[in-house]
C-alpha cells in the first residue's frame, strides 16, 4: 500500500500557520492552525517545542481551538497534522531562536551565535556560559529596543496541486504499509472473525511510540469495520441506519491481536524525519481480510462489507455450483 504521509495538496494550500510566544516567566504558548481530534497532536507539538527550547512540558500550552486567533490550517485529514503543523512550529521556533540568540549573545557578552537550549537555560556552545531563558525574554521586552519574544511562521509543503488529469507529485511525504491477516470463518453463520493482524508500516521517525501505537490500533479497527460491518443502508434515497445502533462500528471487544512492526525511516521533508501515520493502517486491512476470506473458503468477495449473509450466500452458491457440475 502507498498512501500520502503528510502535506498532500488536495486543496490549493496544504499549509499550516503557527504563532509562538514565550512570556517573561518562561512559559511558552503555541498558537497553531492545526486541530486536536484525539490523535495527540497537542502532545507531539508540545514535545517538539520542549525539545527545541529546553522548556519543561508543563510550561507549554497549545492553543488550537479558537478560529478567531488561529492562523490558517486546512484541517485534520490526510495523515498530515504532525507533518505539517510540526514543520510550521519548527519554522516559528527557528525565527524566535534567532531573536533569543541575539539577545543571549549580548547578555553573555559573546560574539558567536551558537546556543543550546536546555533546562530553561540558553547555553553557549563554545564557552558553556549560560543564562536563564526567561531572563533573556525579560531583557528583550524591558530594555531598548523593546521587543516581544514572539514569532509567526507559515509552512507550505513542496507538493503540487494535482493537474486536470489528477496527476502530479501531490504529497510532501508518502507512507508505505503491508498487512497480513488471519481470519476464521464460521461456515454455519457466515461470521468472519479476524484473529491476527501483522502490520509492517513505514512510519518515518517515531516521535511518540505510545501515540503511534494508538494510531495504528485505532486505524486497524476502523479498517476491520470497513471490511466487515460498516455500511450505510439506503432505500429510495433515505438512509435506513442513521444511528450507531444499526450502523455497526466495531467496539473494543472486537479488536483482533495486532502485531505491529514499525519500519523507522527518516523522511527528509518531515519534522525530525517523521511522517504521517494515521490513515495507512486502515487502508490495506479490508483488502487483506477479503483475500483471507477468499483463501479460507475458495470463494470470491468483491463487495464490502463482507457481511455474514454475503458469506453464507457465497457458500450456498458454491455448493449449488458443485452439485450442478456433478
Amino acid at each position: 500500500m502507498l498512501h500520502v504521509g503528510g502535506g498532500a495538496k488536495i486543496y490549493r494550500s496544504d499549509g499550516c500557520g503557527t504563532t509562538l510566544k514565550i512570556d517573561p516567566y518562561g512559559y511558552c504558548t503555541i498558537i497553531t492552525g492545526s486541530n486536536e481530534i484525539g490523535q495527540g497532536s497537542e502532545t507531539v507539538l508540545a514535545m517538539m517545542a520542549s525539545e527545541e527550547l529546553g522548556i519543561d512540558l508543563k510550561r507549554i500550552k497549545v492553543i488550537n481551538t479558537d478560529t478567531d486567533i488561529k492562523p490558517w490550517d486546512v484541517g485534520v485529514h490526510a495523515s498530515r497534522t504532525s507533518f505539517v503543523a510540526g514543520n510550521s512550529l519548527l519554522g516559528a521556533i527557528k525565527i524566535l531562536k534567532e531573536k533569543l540568540n541575539k539577545k543571549a549573545g549580548e547578555l553573555l557578552k559573546t560574539a558567536h551565535s551558537e546556543f543550546e537550549y536546555d533546562g530553561g537555560e540558553i547555553i553557549s556552545n563554545k564557552t558553556k556560559e549560560h543564562i536563564a531563558l526567561d531572563k533573556v525574554v525579560r531583557e528583550m521586552h524591558f530594555s531598548e529596543p523593546n521587543e516581544l519574544a514572539i514569532a509567526s511562521f507559515f509552512y507550505e509543503p513542496t507538493s503540487k496541486f494535482q493537474d486536470k488529469e489528477f496527476k502530479g507529485n501531490v504529497s510532501g511525504s508518502y507512507a508505505f504499509a503491508a498487512q497480513a491477516i488471519e481470519v476464521e470463518v464460521d461456515t454455519y453463520t457466515g461470521n468472519v472473525r479476524v484473529l491476527d493482524i501483522y502490520v509492517a508500516q513505514d512510519v518515518g521517525k517515531v516521535l511518540n511510540p505510545l501515540l503511534l501505537g494508538g494510531q495504528i490500533e485505532g486505524g486497524i479497527l476502523q479498517g476491520v469495520g470497513y471490511a466487515l460491518t460498516e455500511e450505510l443502508l439506503m432505500h429510495e434515497g433515505k438512509i435506513l441506519n442513521s444511528n450507531f445502533h444499526n450502523y455497526k462500528m466495531l467496539t473494543a471487544a472486537d479488536i483482533p491481536n495486532i502485531h505491529f512492526f514499525p519500519i523507522e525511516t527518516n523522511d527528509k521533508e518531515g519534522p525530525y524525519g517523521a511522517k504521517g501515520v494515521g490513515e495507512a493502517p486502515l487502508i490495506p486491512t479490508a483488502a487483506a481480510i477479503a483475500n483471507a476470506v477468499c483463501n479460507a473458503l475458495d470463494i470470491e468477495v468483491i463487495d464490502l462489507p463482507i457481511t455474514p449473509e454475503k458469506v453464507l450466500r457465497a457458500i450456498a452458491e458454491k455448493k449449488k455450483l458443485k452439485k450442478e457440475i456433478v
Partner: protein, 289 residues
C-alpha cells in the same frame, strides 16, 4: 420527551400508584434501557412513568433458591445474573444470555423483568427463560397473585399477557430433574459484533441428560425469528429418549427442521429472512457437534 414520574418506595406504594393510574396512560420504568430510547423516538403526551428502581422489596429485586428451583425478582439485573455462580452452574443458558446482552454498563441496570415486559422478539434473557420453561408471577392491585407459563406470556411484538392492573413480580425457573447427570445448556447469539449487539437470530437450549446419556428433558427456544420468542416444542419432544452423543446426522437435520418450523422471520435492515432461516438451521444442528 416529557413525562410525569412516580417513585414508589414499597410494593404497597407501587400497587397504589398503579391503581390510581388505571384510567391514565402509564408505563413502568425498570432499567429504562429500552424505554428511554422508545420515548425519544416516539414521545407520548400525558404519560406517567412508574419508576420501579426505588421499590425496596427483596421478592421484587432479589433471588431465592428452593427445592423447586430458583426465583428471580423482576428487578434482578442482567449483571447479577452474570455474576451468580449458581445460575451459571445450573442454568448456563440464562447466564450466557445475560452475558451477551448489550454492554457491561447497560447490564448494570437492565432487568430480567424489563427484558420480558419489553417483549421484543429478540429479547435475549426472554429467550433463555422460555427454554427453561419458566413461570411468570404477576401481582395485581387487588393483591392477587397470578402465575402463567412464560410461553403464554408473550402475545405479540411488544405485547404481553400482563393486565393493566398488574405488575410482573418475579420469574421462577424450575429446578433441573433429579436424575439429570449432565446438562447441555447454552445461548447462541448471532450478530455482527461481539458487544452492543441486538440479536439477528438467537437460539437457547437447555437439555438434560441422565446417567445413561439419555435426554430426559429438553427446552429449545428461538429469538428474532418470529413475532415473539418461541418454544420449539416438537423439536424438544423429538429429543426425549435419544442418546445425546449418539444423535445421527439425519436426526440432527430432522431436529433442525423442527426448530425451523417455528420460525417465520422477517427481512429487515439487520438480515434477510433467508439468512435467519439458514443460520437457525445450522446453529440448531451445531448443538450436537
Amino acid at each position: 420527551m416529557n413525562f410525569e414520574i412516580i417513585n414508589p418506595g414499597t410494593t404497597k406504594e407501587l400497587l397504589g400508584a398503579v391503581n390510581k393510574l388505571q384510567k391514565e396512560k402509564f408505563r413502568f420504568g425498570a432499567g429504562c434501557t429500552d424505554l428511554l430510547m422508545e420515548l425519544k423516538k416516539k414521545p407520548e403526551d400525558g404519560l406517567t412513568i412508574i419508576n420501579l428502581s426505588q421499590v425496596k422489596d427483596s421478592s421484587f429485586s432479589g433471588i431465592k433458591k428452593s427445592a423447586k428451583g430458583m426465583r428471580l425478582g423482576a428487578m434482578f439485573t442482567a449483571h447479577k445474573i452474570v455474576v451468580n455462580e449458581e445460575i451459571k452452574n445450573a442454568f448456563n443458558v440464562l447466564h450466557e444470555s445475560a452475558h451477551n446482552l448489550a454492554s457491561t454498563q447497560i447490564r448494570q441496570v437492565a432487568t430480567v423483568g424489563g427484558n420480558l415486559c419489553t417483549a421484543s422478539p429478540s429479547g435475549d434473557i426472554a429467550c433463555a427463560l422460555v427454554a427453561l420453561d419458566a413461570t411468570c408471577e404477576m401481582l395485581s392491585t387487588t393483591g392477587k397473585r397470578r402465575e402463567i407459563n412464560i410461553k403464554e406470556f408473550f402475545i405479540g411484538v411488544r405485547t404481553t399477557a400482563i393486565g393493566k392492573n398488574e405488575v410482573l413480580y418475579g420469574i421462577a425457573v424450575p429446578a433441573n430433574e433429579k436424575k439429570t447427570k449432565t446438562i447441555h445448556s447454552n445461548f447462541i447469539k448471532i450478530g455482527t459484533r461481539r458487544s452492543m449487539e441486538c440479536s439477528v437470530v438467537s437460539l437457547a437450549y437447555h437439555i438434560q441428560v441422565n446417567e445413561e446419556g439419555v435426554i430426559i428433558k429438553a427446552g429449545v427456544s428461538i429469538g428474532a425469528s418470529a413475532p415473539t420468542v418461541r418454544f420449539a416444542e416438537e423439536a424438544c419432544d423429538f429429543l426425549i429418549g435419544k442418546k445425546f452423543k449418539a444423535i445421527s446426522q439425519k436426526e440432527k437435520e430432522e431436529f433442525a427442521e423442527k426448530v425451523l418450523s417455528y420460525a417465520s422471520p422477517i427481512t429487515d435492515i439487520r438480515a434477510t429472512s433467508w439468512y435467519r432461516k439458514e443460520v437457525l438451521f445450522n446453529i440448531s444442528k451445531s448443538i450436537f457437534e
